[in-house]
Symmetry: C2
Subunit: 149 residues, 2 copies
């Protein structure tokens, strides 16, 4: 993991100097992890909207959102979480002091997303039943490692 992290940091620096030479754009690692989070938000927004009755339950669409969420959650995030890239973002620098715990929390989301994908297309009650664990994994990580506002 350490080897990969160091290589990934070098890659992020290289991509940064390749693509963002004007300095106005965020580090590519930051852009990538914010994009990754955006896809969480999009798919959890659909599932959560259904769970709360703000969006009509549709089994096929619930399954699409849950499968997409599980696919994103299963991705390897090594190339995103490069030490020294917290500034200007909501990521707390304590992430890098607690990387093992951070990854345990990421794994929690991976597991909860897979569980959601197992049941989201069954019926609304099943989707709602899986929502608590899923939302809990978001909160668990944000509470520790994201700025409050």
């Amino acid at each position: 993991m350490k080897h990969i992290t160091l290589i990934a940091a070098a890659v992020a620096a290289t991509l940064g100097s390749m693509a963002f030479a004007d300095g106005h754009e965020a580090n590519p690692a930051v852009k990538a992890r914010q994009a990754h989070m955006q896809l969480y938000a999009h798919n959890i927004g659909i599932l959560g909207g259904m769970a709360q009755g703000k969006i009509d339950y549709d089994a096929a669409l619930a399954q699409i959102a849950a499968d997409n969420l599980a696919a994103v959650a299963a991705m390897n995030e090594t190339t995103y979480w490069i030490e020294g890239t917290a500034e200007g973002t909501k990521a707390l620098p304590t992430i890098w002091d607690n990387m093992d715990d951070f990854m345990v929390k990421q794994d929690g989301l991976t597991v909860a997303s897979a569980a959601m994908a197992e049941v989201a297309g069954t019926d609304l009650a099943s989707l709602q039943g899986a929502m608590g664990d899923l939302g809990g994994t978001c909160s668990a990580c944000h509470r520790e490692y994201r700025q409050r506002n």
Copy 2:
């Protein structure tokens, strides 16, 4: 597909009114597809950087980037490409007149990404060999369906 698209459009509208009531934020479907594209760019940037010798080849990191790329490319994009959401983006409205062709082109990327993931961790020559097809699928879609600048 049509049923899902209509539902997805309703979802996008609902999420939009839920989360972005001030009107300053992009439609959530637009934000999601731009995030999806950002993850393509991030992972193709790593693979392309290695192919071009701008980043040292590292088999493990190449495999991570290729697996992530393949995972994103295999996702179902139904909830992103909502008719009427081209304005203010580089997406051309002709996408919605040619949705079958657009999806064929998306499938091309899915196949090329899976092929890259098969070989990216083998050696640099194999990665370079898969890069042409992969880049070709990007170009094929952008040429038809993305504004030039």
